[in-house]
């Protein structure tokens, strides 16, 4: 898969679960793994919100 931002290749493990995060090794953009009909997709990860935490 290629980074939607900079087009660099991103390696996503076959067993990656939906919701896991991966980062582009070139530009550092964060993506969330999504599954659609059995195939993997990358969605732009949400940035840290003011209400994030535990």
């Amino acid at each position: 898969m290629n980074c939607p931002e900079c087009d660099a290749p991103i390696s996503v493990p076959d067993d990656a679960a939906a919701g896991e995060l991966v980062a582009c090794p070139d530009c550092g953009a964060d993506y969330e793994v999504a599954r659609s009909g059995g195939s993997l997709e990358l969605k732009k990860a949400e940035s840290i919100g003011e209400d994030w935490g535990e």
Binding site: G19, E50, G53
Partner: protein, 282 residues
């Protein structure tokens, strides 16, 4: 076998540990990304199973998802009431105080002017904390009027709904560490010391974790703090005040446990999964 649901919005190590634990116990967990949920007053119970562990990293997303799940009649951990109490520091402190749980001296002010008057009367240093937020964000020591005025200025520019309410706390005289106790159903499961070289000890800010033996005093205080906010699965934070002993300064709603798992042999995710399974309505 009941179906457990783990509702998340970012799949962290904790959610994977819960998933693996639930799978190991035979619960075949339903992993639900809260960001994909579309629901309404006519919604059925799918896809939440028989009980839900609400694990959203976004407090407000998790809070409102919990309201929906409770509307469906499905048990959710933590309950909406507990999440509401723990997600707002003023509400949490009020619960602790009302229950007689020792907690740092804290002042509430409902305008910038009242906050300034409060600080001048109580004296410095103080600690200012945002009502909503975690990982130590926005927690700032206030050592003089200039520092307070800077915070007031920032808040007046931002002017969010919580920015006009001020939560000012004494700066507790303590060792450079605090204590995190994870409680499940009111029972302490594991504890750690969190240490840092600075003012904040949050692991999210590069604090470090060390093993901590749960003393009877810690256990009793953690259980009382849990009861004060309504129970469930919680992270109770304590400081060791040099003159007064243990003080509970925070109770966390969606407790993170990756760090504490490195310094304890306790099966934290197993205890959480077992607790949630026990809530399934027969």
């Amino acid at each position: 076998m009941p179906r457990l649901c783990i509702a998340f919005d970012r799949l962290r190590a904790e959610e994977k540990m819960l998933r693996d634990s639930a799978e190991g116990a035979g619960y075949a967990p339903l992993m639900v990304d809260a960001k994909t949920v579309r629901a309404g007053t006519s919604s059925g119970a799918a896809p939440f199973g028989d009980a839900v562990l609400e694990r959203c990293v976004s407090y407000f997303r998790g809070l409102h998802l919990s309201a929906h799940i409770e509307m469906l009649g499905i048990p959710v951990v933590n309950t909406l009431a507990v999440a509401s109490a723990c997600g707002d520091k003023l509400l949490m402190t009020a619960r602790l105080k009302a229950a007689g749980v020792p907690t740092p001296e804290t002042h509430f002010a409902f305008s910038a002017e009242a906050a300034a008057e409060c600080a001048e009367r109580e004296g410095y240093p103080l600690v200012i904390k945002p009502l909503v937020g975690s990982w130590g964000r926005g927690v700032v020591p206030i050592r003089d009027r200039d520092a307070l005025d800077a915070i007031i200025e920032i808040r007046s520019v931002r002017d969010g709904p919580h920015d006009r309410i001020y939560y000012l706390q004494e700066l507790v005289d303590r060792p450079p560490r605090d204590i995190r106790v994870v409680t499940v159903g009111g029972e302490p499961v594991a504890a750690m010391y969190r240490r840092s070289g600075g003012f904040k000890t949050n692991l999210a800010l590069d604090g470090t974790q060390e093993p901590c033996r749960i003393t009877p005093e810690m256990a009793e205080l953690a259980s009382r703090a849990s009861e004060a906010v309504g129970g469930g699965i919680l992270g109770v934070d304590m400081m060791e005040d040099r003159s007064r002993g243990l003080l509970v300064h925070e109770v966390n709603n969606t407790v993170e446990f990756k760090g504490i798992s490195r310094v304890t042999e306790a099966d934290i995710p197993g205890a959480m999964v077992g607790y949630a399974a026990g809530l399934v309505r027969k």
